[in-house]
Structures are given as C-alpha cells and as structure tokens.
C-alpha cells in the first residue's frame, strides 16, 4: 500500500518493483490491492483522509488517472447495469450513493457497538477494582489484627520478665509501654506520698539504651490549672525541672501529670519528684506532692 501511495523512497520503490518482476504471486497480490483501492475510491468507500492520501500519492500520472476512468466505466458496466437488471427499478440510487449509504449505516452500527464495548469494559474494570480493593482491605485488617496480637504477646513477655527481675514493688510503677528492641522511651506510673517502708519504694529498671523516661505522676487532688515538677537526687540536688504542665486523664479516668525525663541525667540511685501547684490566680503552692523512686540498671 505504501508503494501505491508513493510513500516509499526511490531506492525502496526500485527494490519492490524488482521483487514484483521476480515474484509473480507478489505482483498479482499488489495488482489486486491496487484494483481494490481503485474500486473503493470510485465507489466512495474511502474516508476523506484516505481519499486525499490516494489522490495525492497515487494519482500522480495521466496513466494512473486513466485507470480511474477505466474502473469507473467498469463499475458502471458491471454493477450499474446489473442492479437495474436485478431490481428492475429506475429510481434505485446509483451504486456509489448506495455504497455511501451502506457505509454510513455501517459506521453508525460500528459506533453503537464500540460504545457498548467501552461501557462493558468500564463496568468490568470497576468490578475488578472493587474486588481488588475489598481483598486489600481484608488483607490489611488481618495484618492489623496480627500486629495487635504480637504486641499483646510482647507486653505479656515483658511483664513476665520485669516481675522475674523483681523490679515491680507496686503495680502502679509497672511500665505502661513495654520495652521493645530499638525503643528509645520507657514509661512508669508513680503514686504520691512518702512510702511506708524502704522496701515499698518504686524501683525503676531503666535499660542503658533507653533515651527517655516517661513518669506518669498520679494526683490525689487535681485542683490547679497548671503544675511545676522538679526532680531531685537523694542528696537534695535538683537535676531537672519543668513548668506549665497540665493534668490529663489516664485510661481509667484518673488524673495524671506526664513528665518526660532524659535518661542521661539518671544513674542508679534514689530520686524524688516534687510537684508544685499553680492556681489560675493567687500564689504558687509548693510541694503539694512528692514521688520517690529508685533507678536501677544504669
């Protein structure tokens, strides 16, 4: 077709023509294609673009234009007369117009079928996507449940480990978050008041790789708008302080103050956190509560 429409280079054209001379079947095939193209052109079967391409690329010589005339005459003799004989009606549309009408009808049919195919494809795609999303959601939910189960298991193991180490003297001083490999913070709950005995002191096991220690200080009476906490060693040296701290409820609704302390300032030994209450107006009330604890493992 590219040869017929003059789209080959001179070299390619020469090579193709040489092949056509050598190969009879190729020559017949090409001739057949050319004749079909001519008949399609004469019958008006070509699209506007195809027709323009044909006129610009094929009709380049008088000899080829005469071929079109020959085909026009042949079409008239073969099909013009044949149709009159078959139908016997003089008002039948000429073959060219009939061909165009058929072509338009076929185009309309093709459009409808194409639209239906597109709609079917879109619905199929949506169904597949919906199914895939559902599967992904189920998979993610299963993963989440598995993670929850693993976390619970680890918490249990850690609690067992801590109880074996004898670090828990008071249930309230149990770490709220288990120490997981690579975790940089550990939390403990502390209740206020002076311990009745040395054995009842909160002993906190702080592993060396933990970067921060969170202490949840339980309040007996939460009546201040903000609080100020200070951490002192057993010798009475203040090593950490923080102001404007607000209370918050824990999981059971009890009021607590959370302090995050850099583990670097803690070494093995006894400590006390003192809490000052700051009302909305008026003076600061000092030492409203004290939380004693001992650090081990440093």
């Amino acid at each position: 077709m590219r040869y017929l429409l003059g789209k080959l280079t001179e070299q390619e054209t020469a090579e193709f023509e040489a092949q056509c001379f050598e190969d009879d079947s190729l020559f017949h095939e090409m001739t057949d294609l050319e004749n079909d193209l001519l008949h399609s052109y004469v019958r008006g079967e070509l699209s506007t673009a195809e027709r323009k391409e044909f006129e610009a690329g094929y009709l380049i010589s008088p000899a080829r234009r005469r071929k079109v005339e020959f085909v026009q005459a042949l079409e008239h003799h073969l099909f013009g007369s044949a149709e009159r004989t078959v139908s016997g009606k003089e008002d039948q549309p000429p073959p060219k117009r009939m061909a165009r009408a058929n072509f338009a009808f076929q185009s309309w049919q093709v459009s409808i079928v194409s639209a239906a195919l597109v709609a079917i494809a879109a619905i199929a795609w949506l169904v597949v996507m919906n199914y895939r999303l559902k599967s992904e959601l189920q998979h993610m939910q299963a993963q989440q449940a598995e993670l929850r189960r693993a976390q619970q298991e680890l918490e249990t193991k850690l609690a067992t480990f801590i109880s074996r180490q004898g670090t828990v003297a008071n249930p309230d001083s149990q770490p709220q978050h288990p120490e997981l490999p690579g975790q940089s913070m550990i939390a403990f709950n502390l209740t206020p008041g002076l311990p009745r005995s040395a054995g009842a002191i909160h002993r906190l096991m702080v592993p060396p790789r933990v970067a921060r220690v969170a202490l949840n200080l339980y309040l007996e009476d939460d009546k201040y708008s903000t609080y100020r906490a200070s951490l002192e060693t057993a010798a009475g040296k203040q090593i950490w302080r923080k102001s404007a701290m607000k209370s918050r409820p824990d999981s059971q609704g009890r009021r607590i103050i959370s302090c995050e302390i850099p583990s670097g300032i803690l070494s093995s030994g006894d400590y006390v956190i003192k809490l000052d209450g700051i009302p909305g107006s008026g003076e600061v009330e000092k030492d409203i509560a004290a939380y004693r604890f001992a650090v081990a493992g440093r």
Binding site: E22, S25, H28, S61, R64
Partner: protein, 200 residues
C-alpha cells in the same frame, strides 16, 4: 508493438513457453509488469514504453542467452524509464500549464471538460464492446470478484475460490489476467477510434 516483427514476437513466445496458450499468458503478464513499471512516469504512455521494452527484450533473445527473463526485463524497464525521464525533462508540458492555470482561476477549463467527457464516453463504449466479447463465465467472474465492500469482498472471494475448486491466489491471477486482457482490448479500441477519426 509497432516495431516488433511477427517472427520476433513468435520467437519471444516460444522462449516463454513451448505451449502456445501458456506462452500467451506469460506474455500478457510480462507486458503487464512492464506497463506498471512505466505508469508512474509523467507525460508518457506506459503501453508504448512497454512495447519498446518488449522489442528490446525480443531482440536480445535472438542473439544472447538470458537466464532470468524477469530480472532482465526489469533492467530494460529501468533503462527506458531513465531515458524517458531525461527526454521529458527537456520539454515543458502544455498540460502542466493548463493545470496551473486551472488552479489559479479555480475553475475547470470547459474544453478539457468536454474532451474528458468525450474520452469517458469512448472508454465506456469500448469497454462495453470488449465486455461483450468476453465469455459469459469470464463476465460473471469479474462481476462476482468485485462484488461487495472491503471485508465482505475478501470473504466473498474465499467462497468464490472454494466454489471454483481453486485457491484465492490462483483466482486472483486469473482475474488479473482477464482484467489486463480487457484493458488491452479497450486500449486497442480507443486507438482504432483515433485512427478512424484521423482517417476521416
């Protein structure tokens, strides 16, 4: 085929095939190939050039041994094409001027239009005559072969080949040969009309 003597023509036919009927078919095919090779040339008659090529091939066959006639024929065709291009480059076609004038004015020259319609009428008349000379089976074959549009036409040809107990490729070559004979018949008819007019 003005320059080709009967003796030389018969020599060519016998070279093509010992069977006279097959030789005639091979001759038509060879000439068809040559005509096609010259069709792209502007301002020339492919049939005249094909005759020139046949003449040169037949002459060469008298004195030399040619192993591959197709290759040789193509080489001759290329040589003649080159000569024709050189010759036509020396001339400016009147048609070309008329064409450009048409494009400028935007209307078709009425004289050309009349000549075209006369030529079309002659072609139609000659084609009618030539079709009448065809065997009824051949006329029907042409009718069947070109029936339908695009894809339907292809399917119809497969059915037609099956009905005739042949292959599509053979059917194609048969129709091409028939069509080429028809075209040659029409050309001869048109030329004889011209000669008749000249005689008048």
């Amino acid at each position: 085929m003005a320059n080709l003597s009967t003796e030389r023509f018969l020599g060519l036919l016998s070279w093509l095939d010992s069977d006279r009927s097959k030789a005639a078919e091979k001759y038509v095919l060879l000439r068809h190939k040559l005509v096609r090779a010259f069709e792209r040339l502007p301002y020339s008659d492919p049939d005249d050039l094909a005759d020139q090529a046949i003449d040169r091939i037949a002459k060469r066959l008298e004195g030399e041994t040619i192993h591959n006639l197709n290759s040789f024929a193509y080489a001759v065709a290329m040589k003649i094409s080159l000569e024709t291009r050189r010759t036509s480059a020396r001339f400016v076609s009147i048609d070309a001027d008329v064409d450009s004038e048409e494009r400028l004015v935007g209307e078709r020259d009425p004289e050309n239009r009349i000549i075209d319609s006369m030529r079309n009428a002659k072609t139609a008349h000659c084609l009618g005559t030539c079709l009448q000379r065809l065997a009824a089976g051949d006329h029907k074959l042409l009718l069947e072969y070109y029936k339908g549009e695009k894809q339907a036409r292809i399917l119809h040809r497969q059915e037609l080949a099956q009905k005739r107990a042949t292959t599509v490729a053979r059917l194609r070559s048969e129709v091409n040969l028939l069509r080429e004979k028809l075209r040659n018949c029409v050309n001869r008819c048109l030329r004889s009309n011209v000669k008749a007019v000249r005689r008048v």
